[in-house]
Amino acid sequence: MAEQSIISPENLVYKKTEVMTDRELHYCPGCGHGTAHRMLAEAIDELGIQSETIGVAPVGCSVLAYYYLNVDMQEAAHGRAPAVATGIKRVLPEKYVFTYQGDGDLAAIGTSETIHACNRGENILIVFINNGIYGMTGGQMAPTTLPGMKSSTCPMGRDVKTMGNPLKITELVAQLPGTYYVTRQSVHTPGNARKARRAMKKALEYQKENKGTCLVEVVSNCPSGWKMNPVDSNKWMEENMFPFYPLGDIKVPGKGLVNGGKDGR
């Protein structure tokens, strides 16, 4: 069969969803932010809720998420996305509202907003991109940086005696009565990306039930901040991030905490 005959409109099985704009992404080569955006956009596409969805962008590398996600978007001050999303959802309760936040945004400067929005049970989806570092500002240590992990502000590796312990904020908010569905995913392989898309889709569907906050963490890479090539960064993530931040559901509707909420298995 001639190759030409395969490439025709009726055989098209995958292209960039229209819930993303055609704009080129500014992210570094191989950065998981691009795939995470697309999995979220595909979830919105599959549910057919593009015109009913409002997103809140963070400060961090994904500060320009509103250029790429083809839905109504609002930018929030650093860490304040859950507070802004609270306001939007309360005024427009029939809309699907999400935040998209990095670990510095969500678990450092925005810790208070994250915890209180989750504790109030705001009926929003929080998408949390945990790459264990402040990517945007030059790879500084974040609350999520692993013990021993190097960053520009802990070049010898994070020493927990002086720099404190990494914060598992996802396990933490899973304990709060306001959260409904809490899960940890990744987007670095086709299988993981598909699972992350399903998790975000489920979380958006739960918003119709008005039962509380859903949080989908995506453990992701930062090749530039970690000073690795993208393929090695994904391998390093599997070997080092996943043992500390295990993938899987942490709190499931109807069942509550999985494994006592200790980790994602």
Partner: protein, 71 residues
């Protein structure tokens, strides 16, 4: 056996990250020797074993791959 799938790579948008190479079960993809206008090596097809599984396209952070499959 005749090929079942094929892809179109928007080479000018490729950033040469190579994440798609690992994701392909049929070793269809390699990096070019040349670079695109941005200065990145880009993904090229090196055989016609593509099944149209879309693995490469799903993991591509920049969504530069379109996938076709004979149904």
């Amino acid at each position: 056996m005749a090929a079942k799938g094929d892809i179109i790579i928007d080479i000018e948008r490729c950033k040469g990250c190579q994440v798609c190479l690992d994701a392909c079960p049929k070793d269809v993809l390699e990096m070019s020797k040349k670079v695109n206008a941005k200065g990145y090596q880009y993904t090229v097809k090196v055989n016609s074993d593509c099944t149209g599984c879309a693995n490469c396209a799903i993991v591509c952070p920049d969504a530069v791959i379109k996938v076709y499959r004979v149904k």
